[in-house]
Symmetry: C2
Subunit: 341 residues, 2 copies
DNA sequence: GTGAAAGCGCTAACAC
DNA sequence: GTGTTAGCGCTTTCAC
């Protein structure tokens, strides 16, 4: 193993600068209330010694960690099928880094991990948590609330327990879906079908709700349940075509499913958008741009969502924050027009 | 803010169990050399109090953190274009979790972040690092070695500095490429083209090398440089078709580029695989399965690669590891046959 | 086998 | 302003 060169302590810095440990500490932590010449001397000592504060020692007394956990539940599902997750993390990371916080990643793989995560969060290793819980009946959110640690959820969690205030950030799935369907209707389409996502996820449920907001009177045969995958999109499309050969538009709950639908439409000789107009959701590049024809879709800014989650958490963590942060935040979506509708 | 309920300390546990702090500590850390009845009493006290060790206090004395940093350089590039990254992380996470280590994620966004990461790693916050450095001239690997912290690289790093032993895990890019090209040749194809990835990444460079191993004598016009994206694959394909309209096979450096190539071939009325056979690389689902026709491709087990990286690092970190861990590990790839070749 | 005691490196009162 | 001092909660010799 690497020879552990004994790292310099604050003591050493203080000695070299000819000041007390307390003064050295003050300088290291911003230097307020220390006279300029001393500040300079300490800075120099830090420089020369290559001093880096021992975070463990610091945390021990401050009880802060400047670290935030990011909990991603059940990554075997959609999270890994698309860059969603990566973009989200990137936004989070940027924001945390800007505020000198570390990102501790906790991936869970089913129930066994729940206890582990709960213990970790309750264990006071991090100051707060960012949690992605995608499923309606996920016990994780409840466990985490039990851990009593400031938390912001990604995506609207489903509270069986009633309307307790959960802080979360979500895309306007419902509104986006409405915009998609209205766009299709505006094109003069009258037999608009919907390929849903897995309905145990709030995002998919909300998109279906948005579809119903506009087409509440639609023939139930125009809705096919699916799973956010290309294969699932294919199956759903075949099903819809069998049930309603006269359909003239499809709103798929995400781009991946839309790409599957597109393939089936082409295979069955339907022209897109002439015979059947198609709209997706996510604007997940490169899928949306890569389909044939390129996909009209509902765009959500995933990276921004991550950034906002982090910002929200950091604000709740800040002891001298003045204003009450919002409890829930729903980010707008926008319709991106390409060739498919 | 959450009301910080004062967490029980070891002291409290010891008191409740009627033992000394030292004994309580022994039990909490495995309980070797403590008599059974005492062990039991301490365990019970821990249970009743809901005691969780304070990691900061522990690190302060042990100088271990049970935490590993994962550094991903420049995620704006390909890393975010595909689930590569997510799968890798999943493998790493599983392995670290199994050994009670935390995963601290460090995403870097260009040179500015390098110093930050180097400082962090040198700062003794983590026991080791897993580093993904994709670019040939990336200064990060050098900086990290300077930090003097045990490190395992993901993907073969490029050492300007000569053959110092860098520990890394990589896929057999070169061998995989050879297999792909040989497969094409075995199909009787004689005018095999190659769409490269960005050649400043070792993976892309190695795949090109593999292509050349088999077709060293190929017309240079049969190689088009590209960038691992569908759009790039399209451009490269057009270029190749313009230069060598008689080509009868294409080996694309990844599945995304292959999907772009496929689109252009279809658009230009070439049948796949009859007129032009196509092979990709990665076996990145759902891309590879989702193309039309589904892609024959070279599979690499990304998640396993992550897991092995973590395992290797953990072994280097283990003070009572007996055997010398290997310095470099190249994981095999396998050809997956689908319809495109 | 168990306990007493000495710190790990740092911050935050509190004096001066 | 600056220094002195008392811990933060834990592990680990070292006696017993």
């Amino acid at each position: 193993m690497t020879e552990t060169a004994p790292r310099p302590t604050l003591e050493a810095v203080a000695a070299r600068a000819g000041v007390s440990r307390a003064t050295a500490s003050r300088v290291v932590n911003g230097g307020d209330g220390v006279r300029e010449p001393l500040v300079e001397r300490v800075r120099q000592a830090v420089e020369e010694l290559g001093y880096v504060p021992n975070q463990a020692a610091r945390s021990l007394v401050t009880r802060r960690h400047d670290a935030v956990a990011v909990v991603i539940a059940e990554p075997e599902t959609r999270v890994f099928a698309d860059p969603f997750f990566a973009l989200q993390l990137r936004g989070i990371s940027k924001e945390l880094t800007a505020h000198d916080n570390q990102l501790v990643l906790l991936l869970t793989e089913g129930r066994d991990d729940h206890a582990r995560v709960a213990r970790y969060l309750a264990g006071g290793h991090v100051d707060g948590a960012l949690v992605f819980s995608l499923h309606l009946d996920d016990p994780l959110p409840g466990l985490i609330r039990g851990a009593g640690i400031p938390t912001v959820f990604g995506g609207r969690p489903d509270w069986h327990g009633g309307p307790e205030a959960a802080v979360y950030v979500d895309s306007d799935n419902r509104g986006g879906a409405r915009a998609a369907v209205r766009h299709l209707a505006g094109l003069g389409r009258t037999r608009i079908a919907h390929i849903t996502g897995p309905l145990d996820q709030t995002s998919a449920a909300d998109r279906l709700q948005g579809f119903r907001d506009v087409r509440g009177d639609a023939d139930p045969h125009l809705v096919a349940e699916s799973d956010f995958t290309p294969g699932g999109g294919e199956r759903a499309m075949r099903e819809l075509l069998a049930r309603r050969p006269d359909l003239d538009a499809v709103f798929a709950a995400n781009d991946l499913a839309a790409s599957g639908a597109l393939r089936v439409l082409r295979e069955q000789g339907r022209r897109v958008p002439e015979d059947v107009a198609v709209v997706g959701f996510d604007d997940m590049l490169p899928v949306a741009e890569g389909t044939d024809p390129p996909l009209t879709t509902v765009r959500q800014d995933i990276e921004e969502m991550g950034r906002i989650m982090a910002r929200l958490l950091l604000r709740r963590l800040d002891p001298n924050a003045t204003d009450d942060p919002p409890a829930g935040l729903v980010l707008p979506t926008t319709l991106v027009r390409r060739a498919s509708a």
